[in-house]
Symmetry: D2
Subunit: 102 residues, 4 copies
């Protein structure tokens, strides 16, 4: 049942402004490629670390955005539908937050 709800959401476009995410993620791919190139060319270590920090920040921004969308759509919908589904969704979300925060 949770599984079903999951699949349903997966195909129902919970992501607000998907193109914004796709653009950001393309940029993130480019950043990852750039870091690979910096190591290949043995750029100065500190400069590589700076790029790694920037990439992590970009990932955090995507993660927080997706989480916002998830809470706004999946969790609110589940809360409105009633039943235990909202609790399941929130547990999933806080587990994901715990992994991000670490």
């Amino acid at each position: 049942m949770t599984e079903h709800a999951t699949t349903e959401h997966a195909s129902h476009g919970y992501i607000t402004d998907k193109d914004k995410y796709l653009n950001r993620l393309r940029r993130i791919e480019g950043q990852a490629r750039g870091i690979h190139k910096m190591v290949a060319e043995e750029k100065y270590c500190i400069d590589i670390l700076t790029q790694i920090s920037a990439l992590k920040s970009a990932l955090d921004a995507v993660a927080v955005g997706l989480l916002d969308d998830h809470l706004t759509h999946c969790v609110v919908d589940a809360a409105r539908a009633g039943g235990a589904e909202a609790d399941v969704k929130i547990k999933e979300a806080t587990d994901a937050i715990a992994r991000l925060v670490r």
Copy 2:
């Protein structure tokens, strides 16, 4: 109006198992005091850093727990009540998550 809702929740015990948090936070205070003592006694730097990491983890665990309670109570209640309140609550929560994740 949001302000009102806030105050209301603040006094309505949204925290599940408050004693658990109070115990953990007392332990966190003790950890902070212990780190102060380690610096005062000039303990080995690396050992102090280990205690700082442990304290940060303890704080993250409290933060994620509080966030879970907040989503389960405030956000779900707001979602059920309908209107824009749920969006406001979610925006607040994701801003708080962004600060935790950084």
Copy 3:
């Protein structure tokens, strides 16, 4: 031998401007106490999370400062003394950094 070096440093005041750290750590203890009080008084969850983030930042600043002192004193001294001691110190330091970064 490493153990010995450790003990030696522990009593040799590797910390530059110890009072600065003690003051910061006293403030950190106060912040921890404040968060305990906020939970006891059931303050608004989001406000508590904000204080937890601030406390984590304060801890990070102390950790980075101590690490700087450690590298400047212990690691540089070990490097100058020659031998494998510097590698041991650096391994310790990077392990500590890994725990902080997580």
Copy 4:
């Protein structure tokens, strides 16, 4: 002079086991591409967040490894050479650590 030292290191292969890093970074690029694909296909939000956390961990591991190499080579070399160079290198390194830890 610092600039010179920097450039020198940049071309002198301070990175121990460069291939290991290049392989890891290629995998990281693949992870970034995978996350892009997950968003494009609107996979379940929580699963995307899990992959983002995994990617961040992989980046942290690379960063800590590079930092270890940097301390082992550049900082130790500078310490042995004497003069203020070691302090400059350590300041750079702790600034980089501060950005990683945030």
